[in-house]
Amino acid sequence: MELTNGATKAGDWRNYERVLLPPIRDLHKLEVYENEANGYNRLRDVLENDDWTPESVTNEVKTSNLRGRGGAGFPTGLKWSFMPEPDDRPRYLACNADESEPGTFKDRQIMEYNPHLMFEGILIAGYAMQLDACYVYIRGEYADWIRHMEAQLQKAYDKGYVGDNIMGTDFSMDIVLHKGAGAYICGEETSLMESLEGKRGYPRYKPPFPAQKGLWASPTTINNVETLAHAPLIIENGGEWFANTGAEAHPGPILYGISGHVNRPGVYEYPTGMLITDLIDEVAQGVIDDKGIKAVVPGGCSVPPLRGDGIDGVTMDSESLQEAGSMLGTGGMLILDEDTDMVSYLRRVTHFYQHESCGQCTPCREGTGWLERIVTRIDEGEGNMRDLDLLLDLCDQMEGRTICAFADAAAWPVRNTVKRFREDFEAKCKPSVHPTGADLSAAGATAA
């Protein structure tokens, strides 16, 4: 596969050629992957070429400045270097294919259309960190895709690409597919490990961090599917190539999932750092019926929604989005048109968190329930202005006070939707009444 998009900056995205999901028919088949996409040659190079050592592979990933695509955006090379020196314990990789963040549907495209790229990435990561096995945790709903991947994985095993003495070298690594059974929280890395061990998916306290004490008390690294799929491309084209693609501080190709009120939703591969307006107007061919944009949720349901009137000039990378008051998250964008009622949007979002909280921490278990109850009350016209402050107060009580980041992820959209779309909420609240009985709404008071 010839890569011509050497230094594609996001600006000339129109000329971008896909590398994660290149336009090759039947790429999911091993033969096609081998013959037409340089398949497993990157792994061969790493294993057979003496220039590559575990350190130099990790350094190449550091040079690429690849940042995790699972939501937190943590630098991948740095994460790999956290693994301790080998001791007598086995060492594991957990590939996070739980993909349950609402609005996110990108990892499945890799699993369906280019599964061997993911396997090859896993093996390269395994070489770099000197691992024994990788467990791929796939959400149980993806039953059809799990079967699809099992068949492809078996072919890779049969060819000697996975398993003992890979390609005749002394590097051995197993890949095991593990089927989840429906729990959003299992996407959180420590919950994922608990679930893999065959327990309830309760997140663990950190420290100890997974690199010290992860799966079965052994050193473990957790990476997202898309993150790992980048590894063979970085080996082939060099870390510099990756670092020069897209946004400087958050570079590389990325899968954008676009859903909601657009004419052409779907998963698109482009460089990071694209203008949100380009993605909506050109890539997704605009909003249905040419309506205005009320809000954009740029990276899955946990990130704060942006106001439609504030997206001009904002690009899809962590720096620009942070400045605008949101996050890149998973890159799963939801576009909401001008007719959307943000109260009913938030009602559904809070319901999600209430349903998915694992219940270990009181602020999260109770807090998510209260958030839903209060937003529901407002949505049904029974709320009052004080409820808006109560919601913000509740968010204060939840953020940073729990075992895992779920509670923060539940609080962020609430805090920012109430703040940024306050008019929607006020319109649904009962008029404020002063303790004396006077109706203050006419005087323009916002809080009683």
């Binding site: 369906e112 149980g140 039953a143 998963v267 349901c301 349903h355």
Partner: protein, 225 residues
Amino acid sequence: MSHFDIERPIVKLPEQQPEQQIPDEELVWTDEEQERIEERKSKYPDPKSAIMDLLWMAQEKYGYLPPEAIRLCANTLDMDYARAYGVATFYTQYYKEEKGKFVLDVCTCFSCQMMGGYDILHYLEEKLGIHKGETTDDGMFTVEEVECLGCCGSAPMMQVTNGPYVHNLTKDKVDTLLDDLKDGKMPPFVSVTLPQDEDEMGGNRRSDVEATETYQTPPRSEAVK
């Protein structure tokens, strides 16, 4: 129920030991299943980690997971019943109660909500004369509201009995689906094409799956809750 009461996933503790549903003689694994169990156990450093696989197998075998099925899994792995029960009750895809022959899991999470997921849910409820969470009297259909299924581009969508996804739902599509299911026809696996594939390679890139479907914009729903 006032609207301040929300549904909570409370684990119901039986007041008395529920009656055994599966007779003892059926509570055994076949040789084939036994083989699969051994294979799964060998994949993990701790064989008990295979509990999720075993619960899946038991559910496929018995349709759902009454206590005796969970106990069978626990015993097979030499594990405490309480721990296996804990796992079975943590994950929503394990059915703790008997469900209809077909379980219709309608996604109403935020992308689907915006594209009319609730219209589909309400239409199903009306058509089948049941509320979400209930099963029709003939035991054919259970309707459920589920969280994001990771297919938001083809919203609104649903999953049938932990299996195939059905995309870009409309009321007509729901009618057809129900008719097919009544005839015992499960919907086929449908690969949803990537828009860039449509532009660059004319649509479906896989030659091994029959049914393909592009993302389409379904009629915009008025109801968003």
